[in-house]
């Protein structure tokens, strides 16, 4: 019963004791500032250029990778050095409940079309991708990574762990999917004559999660709220149903 608490405590202890280890390139005091710097610079670039192609997820990870290459640190060393950030992953998933609660009243206004759209969208997004990959002969690793493509990264990571998939591949797939959706989505819908901001926002949230939500917020606050709502609901729904399908 208490084993989960013990694992958590020992992770905390591990992260703390890594700080007292002798200084090396993979020391938390080097890796953590590298992470923060990569994130900060990527955010600045993104804000200045405003292109979803350079979303901090992409820019930040590239910058950190370049830093690791220069410092000659391998992935295991990097993961150890980032221990503190890994500890925040769980609470960050839990924190998604707050915007979800704040947007929940909006679903009552639109009602069942939204719920139906959500259910079908949440099923369609991974299904279409998996079918395409299956037709092209992708391996099981690829298929598992694709199933989490449309859910927000923290939830996708938790899911990948649950299904014994590769976490970083899932994270990459999620980021790339978000970029494709955010870059092409709104223009595509304009061509189809869909201008209802609620529809645009909701589709962005289901298919392009957090990156899509950032894009939706640029369109309007209403669009952003619907996107955030769709992202939260889609993540929760996928997390509940997907492991049942994959493990069975």
């Amino acid at each position: 019963m208490w084993s989960e608490w013990q694992t958590w405590l020992s992770q905390l202890q591990q992260a703390a004791s890594d700080f007292t280890a002798p200084l090396s390139a993979a020391h938390p005091l080097i890796i953590l500032p590298l992470n923060i710097l990569g994130f900060w610079v990527a955010l600045k670039i993104y804000r200045r250029l405003g292109s979803p192609l350079l979303h901090p997820v992409v820019g930040g990870s590239l910058l950190v990778f370049a830093g690791l290459w220069l410092l000659n640190v391998d992935f295991t060393g990097y993961q150890r050095g980032s221990g503190l950030l890994y500890l925040l992953l769980g609470p960050a998933v839990v924190a998604l409940a707050i915007p979800l609660k704040q947007n929940l009243t909006m679903i009552r206004k639109v009602g069942w079309p939204l719920i139906l759209g959500l259910l079908l969208g949440a099923v369609l997004a991974p299904l279409v991708a998996v079918v395409i990959a299956l037709l092209l002969g992708g391996s099981k690793t690829v298929l598992v990574a694709l199933t989490t493509k449309s859910v927000t990264t923290p939830v996708a990571l938790a899911l990948a762990q649950e299904m014994h998939g590769i976490q970083s591949l899932a994270a990459g797939v999620v980021a790339f999917t978000g970029i494709v959706g955010a870059v092409c989505g709104p223009g595509l819908l304009r061509r189809l004559n869909i201008t209802d901001e609620r529809v645009v926002g909701f589709s962005l949230g289901i298919n392009a999660h957090a990156i899509g939500t950032v894009r939706a917020l640029e369109i309007s606050a209403l669009c952003g709220a619907f996107s955030a709502l769709a992202m939260g609901l889609c993540g929760a729904l996928t997390a509940l149903v997907l492991p049942l399908l994959v493990t069975s």
């Binding site: 989960e4 608490w5 994130f39 930040g60 990870s61 992935f75 993961q79 980032s82 950030l85 925040l88 769980g90 609470p91 960050a92 998933v93 839990v94 409940a97 707050i98 704040q102 639109v110 009602g111 079309p113 759209g117 079908l120 969208g121 369609l124 997004a125 279409v128 991708a129 395409i132 990959a133 092209l136 002969g137 992708g138 391996s139 690829v142 694709l146 493509k149 990264t153 939830v155 938790a158 976490q167 970083s168 591949l169 994270a171 990459g172 999917t177 959706g181 092409c184 595509l188 819908l189 189809l192 869909i194 609620r198 529809v199 645009v200 589709s203 392009a208 929760a236 997390a239 492991p243």
Partner: protein, 132 residues
């Protein structure tokens, strides 16, 4: 001084997040549920907030800060993609096509469906799509 006054409230908020995370993990492992622990924690917190009726201020503030730095928190997992070497070329092609084409297809289908549903519901009442 103002910062110091906020501290208890922030600690309470952070404590709640960790507590719900751990509760979710404990429940999923004890009942061997196939749901990720933190996701169950999120749903439990959502339920608790709905019952409580509002979001405590400290919790809202801590969550906002945490979500603002979400990209940073996720960075270690994202960087791992560049260290993946053992995937076949075939796999990369399948991945890329599935992501680009798949996302565009599902995006279009969701939007068309939703557009259709919302219109059908609001048209008979003569309701405009604008929020009044």
């Amino acid at each position: 001084m103002a910062q110091l006054k906020k501290l208890p409230r922030w600690l309470l908020g952070a404590g709640l997040l960790v507590a719900f995370d751990l509760t979710g993990r404990t429940l999923t492992s004890a009942l061997s549920l196939p749901v990720p622990g933190p996701v169950l924690g999120m749903l439990l917190l959502l339920l608790a907030l709905m019952l409580y009726g509002r979001v405590p201020r400290g919790l809202a503030e801590v969550a906002e800060q945490l979500l603002r730095y979400l990209v940073l928190i996720l960075l270690p997992a994202t960087v791992g993609i560049y260290f993946l070497r053992d995937l076949a070329i075939n796999d990369w092609i399948a991945l890329a096509v599935a992501m680009v084409v798949g996302t565009l297809i599902s995006f279009t289908l969701t939007a068309l469906l939703l557009n259709h549903l919302i219109r059908r519901r609001s048209n008979p009442q003569g309701e405009d799509t604008n929020v009044e």
